[in-house]
């Protein structure tokens, strides 16, 4: 009996001690594993190239979190050269960083190397442009969905019942990139359902606005009654918009494209060069990739063990809904 009382008193005392402690707050026991697990980790980002809105935006957001949480973020800039990107990846497989973030120039070039990296124990996240090989995670736009939304918007403008010619031009970007292939499939699927839609041109501008402009000038000569244009990227398709405006047809031809929601894109809508941008919202994507970086670094799963995708939300930007704060500027993200 006595022993029990003493034990009970002791436990009560302990409880009391605990209670007084609680008044000083609690040291969150799950904090340390979070920070310790990230400290000193090495993350390497291989973009298509630095120096344009998408990659500069993501990099600004990723850098901020890296500095904040104490892991390093390096950027190997292949500057639009698939060769240089492949070399960087090969070198990284030997260097064994903790995590590689790859922005694929096309669906094939990096595919085998990304698999080799995972086999070597390096986790891999693919950002906004995926390859045919699924890796630990993909964070970015769902290009098929972007394509379906774009095509539906054009069908609404130019399809049966619109009273227009139904003539549509497709401006592709880099014909081997994920965005291009998945979008094209969606366009073709959607347009096939409406017999009044005619695809009169399908040319690649390789992300170059000057090339998009030259293509559109020629197409407009052939088809003065063109009804709509659907393109791969706002930075490229602004060239097509300029040709349409120069021909005085800005009100007759509806230009649909997609982009990162940068202020320049919004400005081009205000200028009447573009009509609809499906924005994959770079700041949102930046936050999503940051979250995925932390999760991948902390997860006990081995590289390549579990594969997830997160398709980032899409916003539709038109003349009617853009305001002063709809689009982002790089300085805001830094």
């Amino acid at each position: 009996m006595k022993i029990r009382t003493i034990l009970a008193a002791g436990l009560m005392a302990l409880g009391l001690v605990g209670a007084t402690h609680a008044d000083d707050g609690l040291d969150n026991p799950s904090r340390n594993p979070f920070y310790d697990g990230l400290k000193g980790k090495r993350v390497v980002f291989i973009p298509l190239a630095m120096g344009f809105d998408l990659t500069e935006g993501w990099a600004a957001i990723m850098r901020k979190q890296a500095a904040d949480l104490g892991y390093t973020l390096e950027i190997r800039d292949p500057n639009w050269s698939t060769d240089a990107g492949t070399r960087a990846l090969t070198a990284l497989i030997a260097e064994k960083p903790d995590l590689i973030i790859a922005h694929n120039p096309d669906v094939q070039s990096y595919a085998r190397l990304l698999k080799r990296a995972m086999d070597a124990g390096i986790k891999v996240i693919q950002l906004n442009l995926e390859s045919v090989v699924p890796t630990d995670a993909y964070v970015g736009a769902d290009w098929s969905r972007v394509g379906y939304i774009e095509a539906d918007a054009l069908v609404k403008q130019c399809g049966a019942g619109s009273g227009k010619s139904g003539k549509i031009a497709i401006i592709r970007g880099q014909p081997t990139a994920a965005s291009d292939l998945y979008e094209l499939y969606a366009y073709k699927q959607t347009f096939a359902k409406d017999p009044s839609i005619k695809i009169v041109s399908e040319q690649a501008a390789q992300y170059d606005p000057a090339k998009a402009r030259a293509i559109m000038e020629t197409v407009l000569q052939q088809h003065p009654d063109l009804c709509g244009v659907v393109g791969n990227w706002d930075n490229q398709d602004v060239g097509a918009g300029a040709a349409i405006q120069a021909a005085g047809k800005a009100d007759d031809v509806y230009v649909v494209t997609s982009g990162g929601g940068n202020q320049i894109g919004c400005d081009n809508i205000s200028k009447g060069l573009l009509d609809l941008i499906i924005s994959y919202d770079v700041p949102l994507q930046g936050n999503a990739i940051n979250q995925q970086i932390v999760q991948s670094l902390l997860s006990p799963a081995k590289a390549g063990e579990s594969k997830t995708s997160y398709y980032t939300p899409l916003t539709l930007l038109t003349k009617d809904n853009i305001g002063a704060r709809t689009c982002w500027q790089l300085d805001q993200l830094k």
């Binding site: 500057n79 399908e202 060239g239």
Partner: protein, 325 residues
């Protein structure tokens, strides 16, 4: 040489005319004024660069740094203008940069005797790399608003022709005068035909080579101004495209021999015309990207084969070290 000898220029011109005729007969709206203007307009910048490249190739050199010079000098100008430098001042800096690039290439080629193809290939990389590292951060530079003459250069009309076409025409006339009517022009032909003989007869061969590269650099700068005005900006990604090979295509296709000393402005015009007809026709026919590239490269290969068949390399050409590529 007999009058019947087939010149490459003649072959290419006939080919361009034939293609033109076929497209005119088979494609709707090919032969409209609007389409023809669009056709020439789409290749006028290529043509301007071709004039510079042609001049250097006649002097038995090659300038693979032209696209890099164009992209970097103009991107620098535009980024300075955006940062608040008066546009004209920025242009003056860009002009000086282009001169400096031409001088550097020319001196390395003329005085250090490094083959032009390697010097300018490397120079292109150096220019582009240092531009990206030190001169501007963003790879697409927009033109400043409110510079009236610059907007006119991009969108204005001269005698009903869009300015890029007018600029191409004026520059072509100037270069033709330079090559045919000035001593400098005749010297370039002499040096290109046989550099050693030219030197023995007392031509200032090395300074002459330096000046050629300065001229080609300045033409690249001019092409940049026209391009920036026409598309309201300059994308440095142009450097990564196949543009420099398209410029070579125009020159070689037109019949300016890579072994130097032959050809003129007319050849550049013919080459530009053929490429223009080809690109326009292929776009109208909606030929796929890959097939277009294949057709273009096959034609370049064919032109180089015809070039070496019509202008065969003999013992004399192969023994000359200067600039033979």
């Amino acid at each position: 040489m007999g009058k019947m000898r087939l010149s490459q220029e003649g072959v290419v011109f006939a080919l361009a005319v034939a293609m033109f005729a076929i497209f005119a007969l088979t494609l709707n709206n090919f032969l409209t004024a609007g389409n023809l203007i669009a056709l020439v307009r789409s290749v006028s910048i290529l043509g301007i660069l071709g004039l510079g490249m042609g001049l250097v190739v006649i002097g038995r050199g090659i300038d693979l740094a032209m696209v890099a010079t164009m992209v970097v000098s103009l991107s620098w100008v535009l980024s300075m203008a955006q940062a608040g430098t008066p546009f004209e001042t920025a242009l003056a800096y860009g002009f000086l940069l282009a001169v400096a690039i031409g001088l550097a290439s020319g001196i390395l080629i003329a005085y250090a005797d490094i083959p032009a193809i390697f010097t300018t290939l490397a120079m292109g990389l150096v220019i582009y790399g240092s531009g990206r590292a030190f001169l501007f951060q963003i790879d697409v530079q927009n033109t400043p608003a409110g510079v009236a003459w610059f907007d006119f250069l991009g969108r204005g009309l001269l005698f009903g022709l869009p300015m890029p076409i007018a600029a191409f025409a004026v520059l072509a006339a100037l270069i033709a005068l330079l090559l045919l009517r000035t001593r400098f022009g005749r010297f370039i032909y002499a040096a290109g035909d046989n550099p050693l003989a030219a030197r023995i007869t007392g031509l200032p061969l090395r300074p002459l080579i330096v000046v050629q590269y300065v001229v080609s650099s300045l033409i690249a700068f001019l092409a940049g101004i026209v391009m920036a005005a026409a598309v309201s900006g300059m994308s440095t990604r142009v450097y990564n495209s196949t543009m420099i090979y398209d410029v070579l295509l125009v020159v070689v296709l037109g019949g300016i021999s890579l072994s130097g000393g032959r050809g003129g402005v007319r050849n550049v015009l013919v080459g530009t015309l053929l490429v223009g007809v080809l690109l326009n026709g292929m776009t109208i026919l909606d030929i796929t990207y890959t097939t277009q590239n294949l057709i273009k490269s096959l034609i370049l290969l064919l032109a180089i084969m015809v070039d070496s068949f019509i202008n065969p390399r003999d013992e004399q050409t192969s023994q000359q070290s200067q600039g033979d590529i």
